[in-house]
């Protein structure tokens, strides 16, 4: 079958937009961190992007049905990996998220996202029905909940939350009765206070509270929100120019090359830059949605929409946080934030999207 697939058939607009966003990200990492200990982060990121493009190409060439057929194997491996992280993971910033693979610290929970996408697509396809029954919903929910809980345990609430939109979009597309929606809403309202009481760590509670009122804690968690808003506001319409952002340069902005990279970008490129960047992301998402629409089967659609929902969630939470409209959750901005695992994971997903696209050309 391989001969039917060629480089020509790849989703080139998708790839170009992706690379433009990555390029802006690398520039921003340089601008934000070139005077710090992260001075060489920008070219490391460039290497990760290059590796990501390679992975994307490899994944694109694999028939996604092959991957779907092994979804449960991947799932099992994921759980094993996450358990491994909990026991032998590298600890940093108060949580265990990384394990060393061939010298590179890899964040397993990032790659589990892809597995969840495959799992949801496989499960919903296997239903062979236009309606998700309560029993199936509970089963699938349970399957997603197990890795989620393992990630929450690290603790990494932000990444754990990322698994929810994948499940949600899948169930939504597969067809859900409104009665279920109501039931879920009721259960959530009952469970959330308990989760607040028992499930969240203190710093997570503080983050949520300071999201609602950053003034409460101007030097701690609220500090990040306030400094980010100051940086964004200081950018104004046209921005202060590359490497000229004072909030970034004088390090008032927390982690300006990872989670708060968009804040640094907004300071240096202004509202105009923000609109252009958000436009690129929007086109990227729409390109993925188009691939979903043109997917050869339901499974391909579930995969593409899963990727789309996940990226949209990331963008909403990360950029919303930068603009002070979302709580600080510590999830990266896809394609821009510095971090190998995230870059590879996103390219892996884009590889899946391309795999779905290339299957169209298989007769």
């Amino acid at each position: 079958m391989a001969r039917y697939r060629s480089i020509r058939d790849l989703d080139w607009p998708l790839l170009i937009i992706t690379l433009v966003i990555c390029g802006m990200g690398i520039l921003q990492i340089y601008s934000a961190a070139h005077e710090t200990v992260w001075g060489n982060a920008w070219w490391k990121q460039a290497l990760w992007v290059a590796a990501g493009v390679g992975i994307m190409w490899i994944v694109a060439k694999i028939d996604y049905h092959t991957l779907l057929s092994r979804a449960y194997v991947f799932y099992g491996l994921s759980l094993a990996g996450l358990l491994l992280v909990l026991f032998i993971g590298k600890q940093a910033f108060g949580s265990r998220r990384w394990i060393s693979v061939a010298g590179f610290p890899l964040q397993i929970s990032e790659f589990v996202k892809t597995v969840i996408i495959l799992l949801v697509a496989r499960y919903l396809t296997d239903l062979k029905s236009d309606r998700v029954e309560g029993r199936d919903l509970l089963k699938l929910g349970g399957l997603v909940a197990v890795p989620m809980l393992l990630v929450v345990k690290q603790p990494d609430l932000g990444t754990a939350l990322c698994y929810i939109p994948i499940l949600a979009i899948g169930v939504f597309l597969a067809g859900l009765r409104w009665q279920y929606l109501v039931t879920i809403a009721v259960i959530l309202t009952l469970v959330l206070p308990a989760g607040w009481r028992f499930g969240l760590k203190d710093y997570q509670k503080v983050r949520l509270v300071t999201f609602l009122d950053p003034g409460l804690d101007p030097r701690g968690s609220g500090y990040q929100v306030i400094q980010s808003k100051i940086a964004v506001g200081a950018g104004g319409m046209w921005g202060q120019g590359v490497t000229r952002g004072t909030q970034t340069k004088y390090r008032f902005l927390p982690v300006p090359h990872t989670d708060f990279i968009f804040s640094s970008f907004a300071e240096e490129h202004g509202f105009v830059g923000v609109v252009v960047m958000l436009g690129l992301y929007f086109v990227l998402l729409m390109q993925i949605v188009q691939n979903a629409q043109m997917s050869p089967d339901r499974a391909g659609m579930y995969i593409c929409m899963g990727v789309c929902a996940l990226l949209l969630f990331h963008i909403l939470v990360n950029i919303g946080m930068v603009a002070g409209r979302m709580p600080v959750t510590g999830i990266p901005l896809p394609l821009m934030s510095y971090g190998g695992s995230n870059v590879l994971s996103v390219f892996l997903m884009l590889g899946l999207v391309n795999s779905v696209r290339l299957q169209r050309f298989v007769s």
Binding site: H65, T125, K128, S129, D130, R131, I169, F172, L173, P218, R219, G220, Q227, K229, I230, A231, V232, G233, A234, G235, G236, M237, T246, Q247, K249, Y250, R251, F252, A266, G270, F271, V274, V275, L278, Y281, F282, L285, M286, V289, A292, Q293, M294, S295, P296, D297, R298, A299, G300, M301, M305, C308, A309, L312, I315, L316, I319, G320, A323, G324, R325
Partner: protein
């Protein structure tokens, strides 16, 4: 689309892909997702529109304030020098810790206080006091950090722990050890709430270090410089990246006192272990040469912003070391008042050279028996013998003849009963009783019997050691009283008494006799080669508490002296609380006088040597003879 559709497909096409034809089933839902995406992106863009376009100035100003910080450059206070230019009070450079209140977290105050050994409640109170000041103004919370404290600050300044801490270099006051001249010099401290409201501190702000006592307070405006400011760009760790603007600090001016450290040291040594005071001044111009008050305190202990526990200890000491006895102790002068009495008697004509009384050891006036201090009496006593032997009966008679208001007139002329006007804060006035004074204070007539006690320097009469030194010095000058002062002035103020020089001479001769004649009470002040005039005084202390408890306080010992008798250059008064007898205070005065005349002799000798050297032509021509010529007269002084 029917529910059975996919199944029928499956049935017809069992091979892969199973649901190929039915991807359109979710078109509407995907469209919904697209609209949701549009909504989310608009929501995000609206957020940026709010921050960047609608009101960007709110945040861009904050960004500027974020990185620009104003740090104070404390101005060093002027030095205080003695009359020969020797440094009495200096500054030393140290680190001070400031708290930036813009990002101060309440829960950080306690661990910071603990880390630096500051009392938490005091620090809280201090922060409270600054509530009214703009928040961007940092507050200094501790001066003179020790290396351990500096290490604490360095280790905890990062943004995760206590980013509100900031270090600045500051100049701190360094006072002489062991409280030398502590009362004259005073000390500095942070301006208090009460002082902020006082008119003399009107131009100072919360947090300023101002003089609290002594010269430091009196000449605060001169000594205090003007703080500068540095605007620096800092990052979130407080590291400075560049300096935007500097307003240099204007250092305070140095102040030269009339105090002579040599005499001061001698006087302090002589007073060791005695509570009391010594004042030495130059009666020719009023320059104060030495001023001692014992017990003393170490001003270094409260030069800080937050006073240490030592302060309480000093403030609660029953001996009251904070009291400047030289200008604030008000005691009956006892017999040291007799020269003034003698002068008044001669001037008013109630006694003359031929006036003699018989002293049987006491006398009765207005129905009350008044004892002389010598039980067996002095026999026949004239003016000279009266002064030399300090015969009380003689002066009872003089006082009785003068009447209280004449006594008051001359006491007032000598400078008693009002401030001398020395350039020190909080000088006491003392009391000179008179009929008008009693009427005003007690609404009672003066009884002639009360005059008798005043005649020997008892009763309601009280003076300060400074007043006494000034009064006796002026008397030695033949009736010219210069205003005592500590900072040199070209035209010292003076008061000319209308006194017959011949009368003054008689009293001075009497005072010469006190020291130099056999049987004089002040023999212990005798100094070979110098004619010393003096007068002892042993004054009863009246205290309500003592009367109640029936416990009799020991007499205060006084001694006043000036020398040389014929042309006084120095006048000394000594107060030794509970010293019992004036003659025991005389050696203190003698030590001070000796130090003064020894130094004078040394200087004269040095000058003579320097003069000889200058007169001698150099044997070998040197390229620059001038510096050598200037150095030489200095070298003997340095050896002192």
């Amino acid at each position: 689309m029917s529910v059975t559709d996919p199944e029928s497909h499956e049935a017809r096409l069992p091979s892969k892909p199973p649901l190929r034809d039915d991807t359109k089933f979710a078109t509407a839902k995907i469209a919904f997702c697209q609209y949701l995406s549009i909504g989310i992106f608009l929501f995000l863009i609206a957020g940026f529109w709010d921050l960047q376009v609608r009101n960007p100035e709110v945040y861009s100003e904050q960004a500027e304030r974020n990185m620009i910080r104003s740090l104070p450059i404390p101005a060093p206070r002027g030095k205080i020098l003695d009359r020969d230019g020797r440094v009495i009070v200096d500054n030393h450079s140290s680190y001070s810790l400031i708290l930036s209140r813009e990002n101060l977290k309440a829960e950080h105050i306690e661990p910071i206080a603990r880390g630096l050994g500051i009392d938490y409640r005091r620090l809280e109170a201090r922060l409270d006091r600054f509530r009214g000041r703009p928040r961007y103004e940092p507050i200094i919370i501790k001066d003179e950090l020790t290396p351990a404290e500096l290490a604490f600050v360095a280790a905890h300044r990062d943004p995760e722990t206590f980013p509100e801490m900031e270090l600045i270099r500051a100049q701190r006051r360094l006072y002489p050890q062991e409280g030398l001249a502590a009362h004259v010099i005073g000390y500095v401290g942070e301006i208090s709430e009460a002082e902020l409201d006082a008119p003399e501190f009107i131009k100072y702000d919360q947090g300023d270090i101002v003089g609290k006592a002594g010269i430091e307070r009196e000449y605060n405006d001169t000594l205090m410089g003007k703080d500068g400011q540095r605007q620096v760009v800092v990052d979130n760790r407080g590291n400075e990246h560049e300096v935007l603007a500097i307003k240099d600090a204007v250092p305070g001016k140095s102040l030269q006192l009339t105090l002579d450290l040599d005499l001061q040291v001698v006087a302090e040594l002589a007073m060791e272990g005695k509570n009391g005071a010594v004042v030495a001044l130059d009666p020719r111009n009023g320059e104060v040469l030495a001023m001692v008050s014992n017990p003393t305190y170490d001003p270094n202990k409260f030069a800080g912003r937050i006073r240490s526990e030592d302060w309480k200890e000093i403030a609660n000491n029953p001996d009251n070391p904070m009291l400047d006895r030289a200008i604030q102790a008000q005691f009956a002068p006892g017999s040291t008042f007799k020269p003034i009495m003698a002068l008044a008697g001669l001037e008013k004509g109630v006694i003359d050279d031929n006036f003699k009384i018989h002293c049987p050891g006491g006398a009765t006036f207005y129905g009350r028996y008044f004892k002389c201090w010598v039980k067996q009496g002095h026999g026949v006593v004239d003016l000279h013998k009266g002064i030399v032997h300090s015969c009380d009966v003689f002066f009872y008679n003089v006082g009785n003849r003068l009447g209280i208001d004449n006594i008051a007139e001359y006491a007032d002329m000598a400078g008693f009963g009002h401030k001398t006007g020395i350039d020190l804060p909080s000088e006491a006035t003392g009391v000179v009783p008179s009929s008008a004074w009693k009427m005003k204070l007690f609404r009672q007539k003066w009884y002639a019997g009360e005059t008798i006690s005043v005649s020997i320097g008892q009763g309601a009469l009280t003076v300060t050691p400074l007043q006494l030194a000034s009064a006796i010095g002026g008397l030695g000058m033949g009736g010219v009283w210069y205003k005592p002062h500590l900072v040199k002035s070209d035209k010292p103020e003076r008061r000319m008494g209308k006194i017959d020089p011949a009368n003054a001479q008689k009293v001075i001769y009497g005072m010469w006799g006190v020291v130099n004649e056999g049987g004089g009470t002040g023999g212990r002040a005798r100094l070979p080669g110098v004619s010393v005039c003096g007068k002892t005084g042993s004054a009863q202390r009246l205290s309500n508490e003592a009367v109640k408890s029936g416990h009799k306080l020991k007499d205060n010992a006084w001694f006043v002296a000036f020398a040389p008798c014929e042309a006084p250059e120095i006048a000394v008064s000594v107060l030794w609380e509970s010293g019992e007898h004036g003659m025991l205070a005389a050696p203190v005065a003698r030590d001070v006088l000796k130090a003064y005349f020894d130094k004078k002799a040394r200087e004269a000798k040095a000058q003579a040597i320097a003069g000889e050297n200058r007169a001698m032509p150099p044997l070998v021509p040197v390229p620059s003879p001038e510096p050598q010529g200037e150095e030489q007269p200095e070298s003997p002084e340095q050896q002192e």
